[in-house]
Symmetry: C3
Subunit: 433 residues, 3 copies
C-alpha cells in the first residue's frame, strides 16, 4: 500500500466525525490519529485565559433534525453533520416556516450543496441545507430539535515531538476543528500523522513537533502554554487542503525570507504550476504563529488555495474531492522540504585556487556510473565554485538552478574525496535561519 493510500484511508476514517473547536469529536479524532503517532494529549479547561482569549465551553452534539409539516425529516444531522451550524446551542421547538428560515443557511450560488457554518464566538442555533432543498419547503409548522450542549469542559489537542540531535524545532501544524470536510482538513490531519510516523523512524538533526489543534483558539492555546519554547522553532509549516487536484502552493511566512520560505520556494520551483504567495494575515494558524509578538518562520502549504475553489466549506468537499495521488504528491513535497532542512550545510572548498583535477580522482569516470545518484559534472563544478564558506547547499541550489538533491549528492562525493570541508555546525548559521 502506497503512502497516498495510507493517507487517504486515514482521512476517510476521520471524515465522518463531527469535530468542532472543542468536544468529543476532537477526542475521537485524536484517538484515531494515535494509531499512527504516539500523541501527547492535552485537555485545557474552559475559562483558561490564553493571551487575549478565553478557552470556550465544550460543545457536544448527539442529534439534530428538522421535521416538516408532513412528518417527514427535512434534514437530519445523522445524514451529514454539516446540516447543523457548528457550535449550535441546543434547541427544541415548533416554528412556522418564516421563523425557521431565519435559522437556515444556504448557498444560493451553489444551490445543490450544503454550506459549512459556525457560530463559535456568538452562539446561536441554525441549520445548513442546499438551496434546492430549502426552496421546496412548504408552508406549515416545523418541528426542530438540536440535542447539543455547551458546558464547561476542556479544549483538546494533541502533539507529538520527535527528538532529533538538537533541540531546534521544525513545527508542523494542522487544524482539527472542521467536521466532515475532506480536503479541509481531514487531508492535512492524515498527512501529518503519516508524516510523523515516517519521521519517527528517522534520525534527524532537528526535532519535529507535530501539532493537531483546533484552528485559532487551539494555536493560541498552544502558544500561550509554550511561549518560552517558541524561540526554538527554526522552521514551521501549517498544512491544510493537501489532497485536491490543484497544483501545490506555498504562502510565505511574515518574514518572507526565512529558511523555510527559501526551501519551499526551491522545492516548488521544480514543480509545474506551483504557486508562491506572499504572507497575508488571513488564512489558517500561520496568523497566530506570525503575529508580530512571535513572528515565527512559519509558512503554509496547501494545494488549491482555501476560499478559491467552489467545494471549499461545502458538502462538496467530500472524499471524492481528494485523491491518493495528490495526497502522495503533497507528502513527497513535504519530505523534499524536510530533506532540504535536514541536508543543508555549508561546504568549504579545500582546493579553492583553480578547479581541482576531478579526472585524476576518478570523478569524471565516477559520473557515468552514478547517474542514479543524480550527480552531474555541473553539480560538482557548482559546489566547488560556490563552496567559499558563504553559500549553504540551498544557496548553491538556488543560484545554480539545480535540484537540492543533486547539489547535496555532489557535495557528499566531493567531501568523500577530501575536496570539501565543513564551514559551520550541522545546523545552519543563525543568519540563514
Amino acid at each position: 500500500m502506497g503512502v497516498g493510500d495510507e493517507i487517504f484511508e486515514l482521512a476517510a476514517r476521520l471524515f465522518p466525525i463531527c469535530r468542532s473547536i472543542t468536544g468529543d469529536g476532537v477526542r475521537q479524532t485524536l484517538d484515531i490519529l494515535s494509531d499512527h503517532v504516539a500523541l501527547e494529549r492535552h485537555e485545557v479547561p474552559s475559562g483558561t485565559q490564553v493571551f487575549d482569549w478565553t478557552v470556550p465551553q465544550e460543545w457536544n452534539i448527539r442529534s439534530a433534525s428538522i421535521t416538516g409539516p408532513d412528518g417527514h425529516a427535512v434534514v437530519d444531522f445523522a445524514d451529514c453533520n454539516l446540516h447543523v451550524v457548528n457550535y449550535s446551542l441546543p434547541f427544541k421547538g415548533i416554528l412556522p416556516l418564516n421563523e425557521l428560515k431565519l435559522h437556515i443557511h444556504t448557498l444560493p450560488g451553489q444551490p445543490d450543496v450544503v454550506p459549512y457554518r459556525t457560530s463559535y464566538y456568538a452562539p446561536t442555533w441554525g441549520f445548513c441545507m442546499s438551496c434546492d432543498r430549502a426552496s421546496e419547503l412548504p408552508d406549515g409548522l416545523y418541528q426542530v430539535e438540536i440535542d447539543s450542549d455547551l458546558k464547561d469542559g476542556n479544549l483538546s489537542y494533541g502533539e507529538y515531538l520527535h527528538r532529533g540531535q538538537t533541540e531546534r524545532e521544525f513545527l508542523l501544524s494542522a487544524h482539527i476543528c472542521h467536521p466532515s470536510l475532506a480536503n479541509d482538513n481531514c487531508s492535512g490531519l492524515a498527512l501529518l500523522a503519516i508524516l510523523a510516523r515516517h519521521i519517527a523512524a528517522r534520525e534527524t538533526r532537528y526535532s519535529y513537533r507535530f501539532l493537531f489543534a483546533p484552528g485559532t483558539i487551539g494555536a493560541i492555546t498552544w502558544l500561550a502554554r509554550n511561549e518560552d519554547r517558541t524561540h526554538l522553532i527554526d522552521h514551521g509549516l501549517v498544512l491544510s487542503c493537501v489532497g485536491d487536484a490543484g497544483s501545490p502552493s506555498y504562502k510565505r511566512s511574515r518574514r518572507g525570507d526565512a529558511f523555510i520560505d527559501r526551501a519551499m520556494a526551491h522545492v516548488l520551483g521544480h514543480e509545474a504550476g506551483a504557486k508562491l504567495l506572499d504572507f497575508s494575515p488571513y488564512g489558517y494558524d500561520e496568523r497566530q504563529y506570525c503575529s508580530p509578538g512571535f513572528n515565527l518562520p512559519v509558512g503554509m502549504f496547501q494545494r488549491s488555495v482555501h476560499g478559491t475553489f467552489p467545494e471549499y466549506h461545502t458538502s462538496a468537499d467530500n472524499l471524492d474531492f481528494i485523491s491518493h495521488e495528490h495526497l502522495a504528491d503533497s507528502f513527497r513535497i513535504l519530505t523534499d522540504v524536510i530533506d532540504v532542512v535536514e541536508g543543508d550545510w555549508t561546504p568549504l572548498n579545500l582546493f579553492p585556487k583553480c578547479e581541482p583535477q576531478l579526472g585524476r580522482r576518478g570523478l569524471y569516470a565516477a559520473l557515468g556510473g552514478q547517474k542514479s545518484q543524480e550527480v552531474t559534472s555541473m553539480s560538482l563544478l557548482w559546489v566547488l565554485n560556490l563552496a567559499d564558506g558563504k553559500h549553504s547547499l540551498l544557496s548553491i541550489a538556488q543560484r545554480s538552478g539545480l535540484p537540492f538533491r543533486q547539489v547535496a549528492a555532489a557535495a557528499a562525493i566531493l567531501s568523500d574525496h577530501g575536496l570539501l570541508g565543513e564551514t559551520s555546525s550541522p545546523l545552519m548559521p543563525s543568519s540563514a535561519r
Copy 2:
C-alpha cells in the same frame, strides 16, 4: 459649484494674461490669485545674484503687430499673445518678406497652430504664427512694430505659508511664467490656489508652502533667498499640466524613494492608467529643487507628460484642452496625497502575541455598520499584524495593497479600542522621510 468648476473658472481668468519670467503679467496673475489665497508677494531687483544666475531685466509689452503690403494686419498681439516671441526686444521697422521671415517661427508639423517661443537669455525679437498663415504671405514690404521694453525692474513671485502644528514643510510649486497656455500652466496655478484655500481652512501637522514663481529663475531665486530653510522641507511637489484628459503621472524625486515618492506611488497605484516615471534632470522646477546641492524630496505631478502631447507649447493648449472634470480629478489626487502625508503614523500593537479577540470587542459586529468608513476585516488584521513599530500606515498600505484610507480607518478604530499605541512622534521618523 464643484471644485473642478472653481479651478476651471480661475484658470480661465488667468488665461488671457501675457505672462513672462518678469513683468506686469506676473503681477496681474498674482493679483487674481490673491482673491483666493493670502499671498505674500516678493519683488527681487534686476541684477540680484542668485547662485550662478542673475535676476534679469523686467520685460513688459503693450502691443505688437505685423502689417502686410496691403495694409491689413498679418498678426496682432492683441488677438493672441503667443504671436510675439516671449521676452522680445522692442522693434519698429519696415522689412521685405525674406528679412521678416528670419524673425517668424512656425511649426511645420502642425501647420494650423501658433507655436510658443521665448528668448529669455539671448534676447532678440520675433513673431510666431501658424505655418498656414506664414505660407500665404505675399512678397512685399511689411511694417513691424513691437512696443515692448526690457529694463531694470524686478522679478515678482508670490508664496503662501499655511502654518501647521510643526515647522516641517510640504512645498507645492507651480510656474507662473507662461502666457496664454491653459494646461501649461494656468491649470497648475489655479489648482494650487484653490488647494491653498482648502488647506488654509484645515488643521494640519505639516506646514504647507505654496509657491507661484516664474520657471527656473523664480525657483532659483526662491532657493537662494530661503537656502537656510530648505532643510525643513520634508515633502514637495511641482505641479504643471493638471487639467487635460491624460491619465495622472508622477515623476519621482531625484532620491527616488522619498516619502513623497512612496505616497504618490501608493495613491497613483489605485488610479487606472497612472504612470510613474523616474527622475530625470529635464522638466520643470524639480530640476532646481533636486539639484545635487539641495536634493530635496520634490517630485512632479502632471497628467499628460509635457512634451508628449501635440497641444504642448502651442495655441492649441487653450481652454478647450482642459476640463472641469480633470482639474477636479487632479485636485482629488493631491488631497489624497496630502491625506497620506497628514495621516501617516506608526502604530504599535499592544496585544502582539496572537491576534486579539476582535469579536469580543464588537469589532466584527462593528464592521457591518462601518462599511462607509471603509474598514474591513482585512484592514484590521493587516494593521494588527504589521503594527510592530517598524511599519508606518503607508508601509502597511503598500504591503497589504489596501488603500491608505482603509488602513488609516482601521488603525483609528483599533486605537479607539485600546489595541494600538503610537510608536513615534506625530511626524514620521526621520528614516522614513
Copy 3:
C-alpha cells in the same frame, strides 16, 4: 584594410595549424602572433606542479592516416587535423573494421561533419570522421598509422603586458589549444593580437595583459606562476567565438556586479539582440579565474554562446563561419568597453545648488556645433545632476540610459568650463571595482 580584414587574415593564418594543449602547434601560433604583438614567451616543463594539477607531457604529431582494404586513404591528418583525436597516442597496426570502429568518432546527428575530440587526461588513440564516411566503410583490414609522440617537454604560452600609468591590470585572455576551428578560437586569438597592437599604441591608465595560453591547464599554470600578482587585476575578459554572425553575449563574472560586469552590461545594452548571462562554472578559462580562491572580476565575451550552435566543435567551424564584419563588430565592442574602463571617473559638480547657467557659458550654443562629439543638453544636465561625488560616469550612463561616450563628452566639456572637479584618483574607488 579595415580592422575586420586584419583580424580575419590573421585568423586565416592560424587556422591550418594543429594546436593542442602542448607542442609545436602552440609554438607556431605564438610565432605568428608575434608578428603583431611583442609576446613574452614561456616554456613550463612537463611535471611542474601547478596547484592541484601537473603540467602534462608534450604532444607532437607529424602524420596520421587510415588506409582501407582497397589501399585508398580513408582519412588523412594532412587533409584536416580534426581527423585525429587531439593528444592521440602513437599507433601503427592493421585492424579489422569492427576493431577499428572502437577508435572512430562520428556525430550521428550531423552526418556530414567531422567532430573535434580530445583525450588530454586519459590518453588513447582515435580518429574522427563524418558519419557519412564511416558508414560506407567496407569490411576488411585497415592499416592505421598515427605518427605522434607524447614525451616530457614543455607547455608553451605567450603574454604581452602593456604598461599603463598604473600597475592595476585589465586581463584579456584567449585559449590557444584548439586546432582547425575558426570561431573557437582562431577568432579570439586573432582579435586579441590585433587589439594588443592597438592598445600598445595608446596611453592608458590601466596596464593591459594579453594572455595566449592553452585552455584550463594554461590558465592554471599562469595563475600558479603569477599568484602574487592577481590582486592587481581590476578587470578581465576571456574571449572566444568572436567571429560568427550571432549577436554579442557576455557572461558575468562570479561576482556578478564587478565593474567589468556593469561596463559590459552598459555597452551591450546599446547593442541589438545582445545577451547577458549569469556566471556559471562551465565554459572557458573564467572557470579558473573565478574559482573561489581567486574570484577575479573576469567575465567572458563571445558572440554565439559555445555549445549552442551546430558548427561548434566540428569541421563546420571553418573560415566560412566567421566574417570580417563580425570580427570588426567584436573588436569595436571591446574597444568600447576599454573606453569605459579608461574613461570612467567620478565628477563633482562645483555649482551644486540649482543648475549652473549653461547659456551664459555658451554651452547651449556650443551644443549645435558639437553634435559630432555627441554632447547633448540631456547629457550635460545628467552629469551636473549626478555629479555629487557618489556617481562615476558609468553610473551616470546607467541611470540616464545615455551611452557612456556621450556622458564622458559632456563631463569633459563641463570640466573644461570649470563646472566639474574630480572626486577621486584617476582609477575608480575600490568600492566600485
